[in-house]
């Protein structure tokens, strides 16, 4: 199966469905160490993404990713809006106007997404953010391996004290809770991996 614009759009729809199905879980994670809106933010944002894809599916993978980015930036708000938006925007730029995504392009897109999130949010691995899921995912070759790495990375946030975002206000009280943004990043990558397989 080729990974053309339609396949990428289908993967994005699959991610939207997963985020929506896990909305309550993400809300609960964010209630524990943040303000409880992460699941709702992503559900709302990806809902608008699906709407935008229904209206018109762009004709390259890069253009699909760019549509996802601009929709998330303009509709989500919060920390997740600009961070997820930047990730998709950098991924879109990285794949350029290729009509099919190769494994090399996917790996390049993941690295670019990570660089974008780090440039905007200035978080490092270990700060208990989505970077803890995205950074290990950007180091491996395939989407399936990236999803697994992201899941491990998200779990690795549980014992950490947060140094970025709202959870950093809690000090030691953040220990024992998984970071919601890291969890959602793992969910989205797993959805992409399954759609691609």
């Amino acid at each position: 199966m080729g990974c053309d614009a339609r396949a990428v759009a289908a993967a994005v729809r699959a991610a939207a469905a997963v985020v929506t199905a896990h909305r309550d879980e993400l809300v609960r994670l964010d209630q524990a160490i943040g303000d409880g809106d992460h699941g709702e933010n992503l559900k709302r944002g990806f809902g608008f993404v699906v709407q935008a894809l229904d209206e018109s599916t762009p004709d390259t993978p890069g253009a699909v990713l760019k549509l996802v980015a601009t929709t998330l930036i303009s509709k989500v708000g919060g920390a997740a809006g600009p961070l997820y938006g930047t990730a998709f925007l950098r991924a879109a730029t990285a794949v350029g106007d290729a009509t099919e995504l190769t494994p090399e392009l996917v790996a390049k897109a993941l690295r670019a997404a990570l660089e974008g999130v780090v440039a905007r949010g200035k978080a490092e691995v270990g700060d208990k953010t989505m970077v803890d899921a995205l950074a290990p995912a950007a180091e491996v070759g395939s989407l399936a391996a990236a999803a697994t790495a992201a899941e491990r990375g998200a779990e690795s946030t549980i014992p950490l004290v947060a140094r970025k975002g709202r959870a950093s206000y809690l000090g030691e009280r953040a220990i024992g809770h998984q970071d919601p943004g890291a969890r959602s990043t793992a969910l989205v990558l797993r959805a992409f991996a399954e759609a691609a397989s």
């Binding site: 809106d37 709702e40 809006g81 140094r163």
Partner: protein
């Protein structure tokens, strides 16, 4: 959850329509994108002062739009910062050509969205500056946190900067006034109960009857620590001591004391606490020359309060006293 509500997803938009209906002479409101702006804007040649943030803190920010305070506010979803599009729309509605000052509470989401908007506005040739408000002493300002949060001082900063802009100050002056007010303001809050976000449907955290959450923010996020609830003297001391120690405020200072309800604490209790705070400042040789008491920076229906102190000089006092006409603050105009 018991709330006066139709659809949780429409709560912000429907509330904004009510705000517009209540103040037709003062406000222009749109819901897509959500923007509250001065009915008489834009004012050519006047610096536009724009703020915004998540909803659920009413009357912040929409209730402070009007002559002598904000030109526009962009309310996000409940407890979620607005988006860059919204911020750009707010600015375009009130930009009078003399520059735009964005007043932003220091939270990652707000900072990132306002930063993106400011980049886009600058690319369009708008002279835009941003001042971050970060007065909450419950959060250590260090490399290990996102920095102190913006809480009670927001209303004070919006008031003095709005007064400066209304009087014709240029953008650099407005920015300087904002930075001076931020530099001289410190706050701390406690909660007795948690707020319930409409789209979540249950309280953000739970507290036993004899517990209080100390060092809370305004988004239902847990505080720094949980303690046994004390009497009012103890609560006021728990708030005032870290505030005084942080700046630090000292004997001989003249201050504005802002005693704020988080939404659910009645004025009966709030005035009681305010009286205690005033007396304890007198005891420390600090002179309270201006005050504000009421629910101005709230967290939905949360019971609790915060204290904010702003060190005043002649300029800030004059700007505080200047006329203001908004939904929530009105004097002299």
């Amino acid at each position: 959850m018991k709330k006066i509500l139709n659809d949780p997803a429409a709560v912000v938009a429907q509330s904004l329509l009510g705000l517009a209906a209540a103040h037709p002479d003062l406000l222009r409101v749109t819901t897509d994108p959500a923007v509250v702006s001065r009915a008489d804007g834009p004012r050519p040649g006047k610096v536009a002062v724009v703020s915004g943030g998540g909803s659920g803190h009413e009357p912040l920010h929409g209730g402070f739009v009007g002559p002598g305070m904000l030109d526009a506010a962009c309310p996000g979803a409940v407890f979620t910062s607005p988006t860059p599009d919204q911020i750009q729309a707010a600015v375009s509605r009130v930009d009078g050509g003399a520059g735009v000052l964005l007043l932003v509470k220091n939270y990652t989401g707000d900072v990132l969205n306002f930063e993106t908007a400011a980049e886009l506005l600058a690319a369009d040739g708008v002279d835009v500056r941003t001042v971050l408000i970060d007065d909450d002493v419950a959060v250590r300002d260090s490399l290990y946190t996102a920095g102190r949060r913006g809480v009670g001082a927001t209303v004070l900063v919006e008031k003095v900067v709005g007064a400066a802009a209304e009087a014709g100050a240029d953008l650099a002056t407005c920015e300087r006034v904002a930075r001076a007010a931020v530099a001289g303001a410190r706050s701390m809050g406690i909660a007795l109960t948690a707020p319930t976000v409409p789209h979540v449907g249950e309280p953000s955290f739970t507290l036993a009857d004899d517990e209080m959450e100390v060092g809370i923010g305004i988004h239902g996020e847990p505080g720094r620590r949980r303690e046994r609830l004390t009497d009012a003297d103890g609560v006021v001391a728990a708030l005032l001591e870290p505030v005084l120690a942080d700046l630090p405020f000292a004997a001989g200072d003249e201050v504005l004391l802002f005693t704020n309800s988080m939404g659910g604490t009645p004025l009966l209790e709030l005035y009681l606490a305010h009286g205690i705070a005033e007396q304890s400042l007198v005891d420390k040789g600090i002179t309270v020359t201006r005050r504000l008491v009421g629910p101005y920076v709230t967290s939905l229906e949360m019971q609790g309060m915060s204290l904010t102190l702003l060190r005043l000089d002649d300029e800030l006092t004059r700007l505080w006293d200047a006329p203001v006409r908004t939904a929530a603050l009105r004097w002299g105009a």
